[in-house]
Symmetry: C2
Subunit: 130 residues, 2 copies
């Protein structure tokens, strides 16, 4: 029998400090990751930061949502690639904020084989940018 | 000479579909990660999801901010551990939303050696929960 999931869905994380500006990031049943402050906040080079994870979550949510919609639309995906850059800035009276998520038509692309048999005009672009 | 960073700070990510409901997650200079839709959205068990990365970013930002404040306050940290759970629910007329980030006094703790020489009443709790 298939597992039945019921709302709300819960996503657990545990962050434990391991020295300097670094931490271990865990979630039940998942491989451990590490996280650190970025160099511009007295942190470390070459490590995923809270800022990166935030932008990655938005960018990858875009992909998983796209995959779900493509499947519902019976579009057979050939490729999908999306670049997103988060812009962190100081906002007057509000401190640091992720003010923009830059993701334009230049940096997301997909390619599909048309498999849908609905009206052709609905799927004019088999290959395109979003 | 120390590197000088200037605002805004940019955080780049690239997500590329690798089949099923999975993607590779990259950022210049960082080790690759993977991401997948969670099982409750026709995804995969045992993989970090956009939902997990979102909660992880908030939780680890809490840690890195705490570390920065502790350092500015000359508090010598002994340990820091924070659990945070994101609650995803359906919101009438708005679809799925991360409606709550559950992180209470029961699941975040820190322990410090007092090293600050300022007024004692400001740092009554050497060891505590937030």
């Amino acid at each position: 029998m298939a597992t039945v999931y019921s709302l709300p869905y819960l996503y657990e994380t545990d962050v434990e400090w391991i020295g300097e500006r670094k931490g271990d990031l865990e979630s039940p049943g998942l491989a451990s990751l590490q996280v650190a402050s970025p160099p511009e906040f007295q942190g470390h080079q070459g490590m995923w930061t809270p800022e990166h994870y935030f932008v990655a979550s938005v960018n990858s949510c875009f992909m998983t949502t796209f995959l779900a919609i493509a499947e519902m639309s019976r579009l057979e995906l050939v490729s999908f690639d999306s670049k997103a850059t988060g812009k962190l800035d100081k906002v007057e009276g509000a401190g640091y904020q992720m003010t923009e998520e830059l993701s334009s038509s230049q940096n997301s692309s997909f390619d599909t084989k048309r498999t849908w048999n609905g009206p052709a005009e609905s799927w004019k672009k088999q290959k395109g940018t979003v």
